[in-house]
Symmetry: C2
Subunit: 105 residues, 2 copies
């Protein structure tokens, strides 16, 4: 039985994982976001957000900058060019996967 390559084969776990996809999607809408905003937007714990930001940073998909506003530390996160490209590829694969699905429903 011949089978064409399915768009699911083009999904990359680094970007596709639920929390990381959420982070990149938020960063795709804003130039940068701070840690607290990401944590609240995605309803995450500090530890969970930190862990997934670490994976994205190690893959070169986000840059993390720590600043001080007065004495208050603030952590800023920005998607790199590679991160934006990875999100675009994920969205393209998802659009194709959803398109397949919608043809039959």
């Amino acid at each position: 039985m011949a089978a064409p390559e399915h768009p699911a084969c083009r999904l990359d776990d680094v970007v596709h994982q639920r929390v990381r996809l959420g982070i990149l999607a938020v960063l795709g809408q804003a130039d940068q976001a701070d840690f607290t905003y990401l944590r609240r937007s995605l309803a995450l714990t500090d530890g969970n957000l930190s862990r997934h930001l670490g994976v994205l940073e190690q893959s070169g998909y986000v840059e993390i900058t720590k600043t001080f506003e007065g004495r208050k530390p603030r952590t800023w996160v920005r998607a790199t060019r590679e991160g934006r490209a990875a999100l675009a590829a994920e969205v393209a694969a998802l659009r194709e996967l959803i398109g397949f699905y919608e043809e039959v429903t």
Copy 2:
């Protein structure tokens, strides 16, 4: 900083995980598919497909039936009503997430 609930919060790991999303998407297009077809369509190893089918079966999202054609065993997989509903919810969340993304690009 107020933040609306992000659609990523509605993604469920059981369905969202890359391989399992692929399996449910294939089953969303066909009434049922056999093990070999799924394995080839999604470019998986036997072990990887078996493991993820097990997760979906335990969640009640697929039904697995073993038949014989002559002496050749054949394993059929079918999405349950719950599996189809879970895929529909995933697709709705993804569509919203992608929609957010497309507004700004």
